[in-house]
């Protein structure tokens, strides 16, 4: 299948000399849902920022990151950001407008949408994440789960073809996690999910990439990698509980659940 995300020998070093990514290479095909795993500080968030063109500060034209075959450069940065929707780890970073409706409208307004079409887009996206009637609510008065869903509505409002999610279920209660997973399952876009929620990975992702100390240490089918206990333990992870109570042949998630 056609690769939507291509990362080739991507390296990144922060100003303080910290090596965040080292020769990272992988591909994500159209419609695929891929889990990005790794211990804290392994470079997952840094990698996601590269996919949206937020890093490096001065995008190069070396083609280390390609979206839909196009290298991320200064000239196509806005198009890349329209194509790649990025959900940040902390909802308070992402919800920067006073009300939910204003925040959902932020991206579409940047894309030139106005009037009735804009209102329709806001209502549609809020309904899609189950927040109908929340438009007038102040963003700082939402619960954590509501904030997450409002963030997702804001990302979906730009109609991206790729969704990149940074720990989307962290800090959610079990019901919030369940509802958020159901939401993600319904979105047909290509998805790359950085997470520690291994049960979500088992349920949603057909393939996983394991990152440790800025390097890709393994990539392959979810059941194979997550079922490999020595590999998981060696990289600060563990075999998910859900795998220990299922027959291995039953667990073969579809390409995109």
């Amino acid at each position: 299948m056609k690769p939507v995300i291509e990362v080739n020998h991507l390296s990144c070093t922060y100003h303080d000399g910290t090596r965040a990514l080292c020769e990272v290479s992988f591909q994500v095909a159209e419609g695929e849902c891929v889990g990005l795993l790794g211990p804290n500080g392994s470079g997952k968030s840094t990698l996601l920022l590269h996919l949206n063109g937020l890093l490096p500060e001065q995008p190069t034209s070396d083609g280390a990151v390609r979206i839909h075959g196009q290298p991320v450069t200064d000239t196509n940065l806005l198009e890349v950001r329209r194509q790649v929707g990025l959900l940040f780890q902390d909802p308070d970073d992402q919800l920067f407008c006073a009300t939910v409706a204003e925040d959902v409208a932020f991206g579409p307004v940047q894309l030139g949408l106005r009037g009735a079409a804009l209102e329709e887009r806001i209502d549609h996206c809020l309904a899609r994440v189950g927040l109908t009637g929340f438009g007038h609510r102040a963003t700082h008065h939402l619960s954590h789960g509501e904030k997450r869903r409002a963030c997702l509505a804001g990302v979906l409002a730009c109609e991206p073809s790729v969704l990149v999610l940074d720990e989307p279920t962290s800090d959610l209660d079990p019901r919030g996690r369940r509802e958020f997973k159901a939401l993600l399952r319904e979105i047909p876009a290509t998805k790359l999910i950085a997470t520690h929620d291994l049960e979500m990975v088992v349920e949603l992702c057909s393939r996983v990439i394991i990152l440790d100390q800025g390097r890709v240490v393994a990539q392959g089918p979810t059941a194979d990698l997550l079922g490999d206990e020595p590999l998981m333990l060696a990289h600060g992870l563990e075999r998910p509980h859900i795998l220990q109570h299922r027959h291995p042949h039953v667990l073969r998630p579809g390409p995109t659940a």
């Binding site: 950001r81 308070d92 920067f96 407008c97 006073a98 009300t99 940047q110 008065h141």
Partner: protein, 204 residues
């Protein structure tokens, strides 16, 4: 907790004053404030009139009096500071009284307008009168993150309190300084992340 004093959005009332359009409240508020600052002290009628209008608005707005007093108290140190300096000027007894009166009327107007008008509506009016976009964005972000910062400061304060076992005044100041500096660093880092989030959705 100071955040409760700031959180006027919780008071989404349904009084006749709340229902008035934001532009009318801001317009009248501006006239009252400008007038109260500009008219000579001898125009007693103006001050009495403004006082009556604000009294009527207070009643109609159904805002709790204690809440309004707390808000005024929060804003009044600046006024009292200036009035205090004026009070010690030779022959300025009447002047400082009028200064307090003018300031009180202005503050009450601001408190009433801000607590009966959602901030997003205020921004909409500012946008309509073509205030520079950069200024509106700055105001919107300031309002949005004021609450996040105050909550963050509260969490740090609680964390400090939970491990402060011996009352020690100098150590307390030292910790307070650390908390303040940490808050500054965290705010700065958050600002960078917010900017990234804005860029991620097409901010130019």
């Amino acid at each position: 907790m100071i955040v409760n004093w700031l959180a006027h959005d919780h008071r989404r009332g349904d009084s006749p004053i709340h229902r008035l359009p934001a532009w009318s409240k801001l317009g009248v508020g501006l006239v009252l404030i400008t007038g109260s600052v500009a008219v000579p002290p001898l125009w007693h009628g103006w001050f009495i009139g403004v006082g009556l209008v604000l009294g009527l608005v207070t009643v109609l707005s159904q805002l709790p009096l204690l809440f309004l007093l707390k808000r005024l108290l929060l804003l009044s140190p600046f006024v009292f500071g200036v009035a205090l300096v004026n009070a010690f000027q030779p022959g300025a007894v009447m002047e400082w009284r009028f200064l307090v009166l003018r300031s009180f009327l202005c503050l009450l107007t601001v408190v009433l307008v801000s607590n009966t008008t959602p901030f997003s509506h205020v921004l909409r009016v500012l946008r309509a009168v073509r205030m520079p976009t950069l200024l509106i964005t700055t105001l919107a972000l300031m309002h949005r993150y004021l609450f996040v910062l105050v909550e963050e400061a509260g969490r740090m304060q609680r964390a400090r309190a939970s491990r402060s076992f011996v009352p020690n005044r100098s150590a307390r100041w030292q910790t307070l300084a650390t908390v303040a500096s940490q808050l500054f660093v965290r705010a700065s880092e958050r600002a960078e992340r917010i900017y990234d989030a804005m860029c991620a959705r097409g901010w130019k």
